[in-house]
């Protein structure tokens, strides 16, 4: 009513958006765009740097190891995250608030403090090693893929729990009671009714955790073994040590494209990214839908 719809001049509101756009364009988009040109230009237009990624044995091994680690982390996250998110929908508001704060603890815990703690916990002579020694098993998880998996799952679990909680709290539990009342076994009732309704949240969480695990740098570098590096370490090494900018750029673009494709796929199952942004910025005000 106030504005004529056929206005051609850009709205003055754009002046407010411009500084932020300029900052992001210069600091992120230009460097990412230059990565793209580096990766296909040496000196003539070529895809060699990309084909090299898939023919070089070292890169292939690292890519496979990264995908495997990400898969295991994702499975651990859903196995632990599903019951936790389900429990959150079943308890009273106060306990739910507490459980929500606990989920967000990994977000607050400083990256370096957390990784330092995992070194302490997993190192030789640390609590995990001492515990298994009681049973005569000298297990050291420090500098192992298993150790990296444990440390990564802990910090990625919130990304599973938050979308799952928002999916699960939208399910009317009386459906389950109705199924039970009609003579269904609890497991059948869960599998036929609850699980299909929760699947959107599960898929969103799975994709999100998998995607985020692909880019982990500090945890595999500190908790893992240098002989078993993941793709982020390879990327760092190619950039700062080998100064192979075209090769590193191609690898970086590959990781970026895979990540963005997966995240936009996850977004189809609900506004995951924005939901997590909101939940993270207002710890206990996150969606808490009560049953009617």
């Amino acid at each position: 009513m106030a504005d004529p719809p056929q206005r051609r001049i850009p709205s003055p509101q754009w002046l407010l958006v411009l500084p932020a756009l300029a900052l992001l364009a210069v600091i992120l988009l230009v460097p990412l765009g230059r990565s793209l040109t580096y990766s296909v230009d040496a000196p003539a237009w070529t895809l060699d740097h990309y084909t090299a990624l898939f023919t070089d044995g070292v890169t292939l091994t690292v890519l496979a190891r990264t995908a495997l680690t990400a898969t295991i982390v994702t499975i651990v996250a859903v196995l632990l995250g599903y019951p936790y998110a389900y429990l959150m929908t079943r308890v009273g508001p106060r306990l739910r608030g507490l459980l929500m704060v606990i989920v967000l603890v990994p977000f607050w815990t400083s990256v370096m403090a957390r990784n330092f703690a995992w070194i302490i916990i997993l190192q030789r002579g640390g609590p995990v090693n001492s515990f298994f020694k009681l049973f005569g098993w000298d297990l050291v998880l420090y500098e192992s893929v298993a150790g990296v998996t444990i440390a990564m799952s802990q910090v990625l679990l919130p990304f599973m729990v938050l979308p799952l909680f928002s999916a699960l709290s939208g399910i009317d539990r009386r459906l389950l009671l109705a199924a039970r009342g009609l003579g269904s076994h609890p497991i059948t009732a869960f599998w036929k009714i609850y699980w299909p309704l929760s699947r959107g949240g599960v898929v969103a969480g799975l994709i999100l955790v998998f995607t985020l695990s692909l880019g982990f740098y500090v945890t595999p570098a500190l908790v893992g073994s240098p002989q078993q590096s993941l793709v982020a370490q390879l990327l760092g090494q190619r950039t700062t040590q080998l100064l192979d900018f075209p090769g590193a750029s191609a690898l970086g673009i590959l990781v970026l494209v895979v990540s963005l494709a997966l995240v936009s796929w996850a977004n189809r199952f609900g506004g995951t990214i924005s939901a997590i942004g909101v939940a993270a910025s207002t710890p206990t005000n996150a969606p808490t839908k009560d049953r009617p």
Binding site: L24, L32, V103, G126, P127, Q154, L157, V218, S249
Partner: protein, 277 residues
């Protein structure tokens, strides 16, 4: 209306009786909850150790590591650099991010959606990809190892936090208030300062704090931008694990974890009070 209000608690009680939370679910919840807080539980006792290695359990009890953290110039410089970088990055991200959120609030269409995506891009881009791309470009622009380099890179990754929290604060904002202000003779700027700003201040503060914490804790980009003359606290902590084996990291970790937790609690408290009043 009254009937349902009376019936609801009774119905819930009945549901709980038929459908209790099984004990094994509580057990799993407890174990997973412990897993979330486990690292924090180990860091704090380590910080009072007298040992010169990372051995666990910590030996003795002293404040030696804290003393070293707050007196050793290497740690103190790193802490100061981090505070300076995070303050400037948060300030820059908050100013441009708030302006963008206010601007985008009234903009519709594909271009506006695209602009929002561009501003949020760092949230979905792996930090290592940003770090490598930024490092290669900053080498040419001679920003590696400079204060400006750290501040610009950290401000860019801080913008999404400001954008999200200010946008959600604007969600409940009634645009008619601004029209009322301008009909009473307020300039757009005055309208913004006296009407919009007080109503979205909580979102702005939340965004600023998150941008600060994100920069203060950021390690991947900082590792690539570091120089011997200028490095941030997380980079010094990284060095203390990889190069120096310096247990002062335990004290540093405890200080950072405590500070960030306090900031979050204060934010929560302020937010909660505003909301209830």
């Amino acid at each position: 209306m009254t009937a349902t209000q009376i019936a609801t608690p009774r119905a819930q009680r009945r549901v709980r009786g038929v459908d209790p939370v099984p004990w094994w679910l509580k057990l799993i919840g407890g174990v997973v909850g412990l897993y979330f807080v486990l690292p924090t539980l180990f860091v704090i006792p380590m910080s009072f150790s007298t040992a010169t290695t990372f051995q666990f359990p910590p030996q003795g009890f002293s404040l030696k590591l804290y003393e070293n953290f707050f007196t050793n110039p290497v740690w103190l410089d790193a802490l100061r650099n981090s505070v300076v970088v995070a303050t400037l990055a948060s300030l820059l991200a908050t100013v441009v991010g708030t302006a963008a959120a206010v601007g985008l609030h009234n903009l519709r269409g594909r271009l506006a959606r695209f602009a929002r995506t561009v501003l949020m891009i760092s949230m979905v881009t792996p930090a290592i990809v940003i770090a490598v791309a930024v490092y290669i470009s900053f080498l040419q622009w001679q920003l590696v190892g400079t204060l400006a380099g750290y501040v610009l890179a950290h401000a860019a990754i801080g913008v999404p936090f400001v954008l999200v929290s200010v946008t959600s604060a604007l969600g409940g904002f009634d645009a008619r208030l601004l029209r009322a202000a301008s009909s009473l003779g307020a300039t757009p700027l005055r309208g913004f300062v006296t009407v919009t700003m007080p109503l979205i201040s909580r979102g702005v503060i939340t965004g600023a704090v998150f941008a600060f914490v994100t920069s203060f804790d950021e390690v991947v980009i900082a590792l690539f931008l570091r120089s011997p003359a200028l490095q941030t606290l997380p980079v010094q902590m990284y060095n203390s694990v990889t190069v120096e084996i310096d247990p002062t990291i335990a004290a540093s970790s405890s200080v950072v974890v405590t500070a960030v937790t306090l900031i979050c609690l204060v934010l929560q408290f302020v937010g909660g009070r505003r909301k209830s009043s």
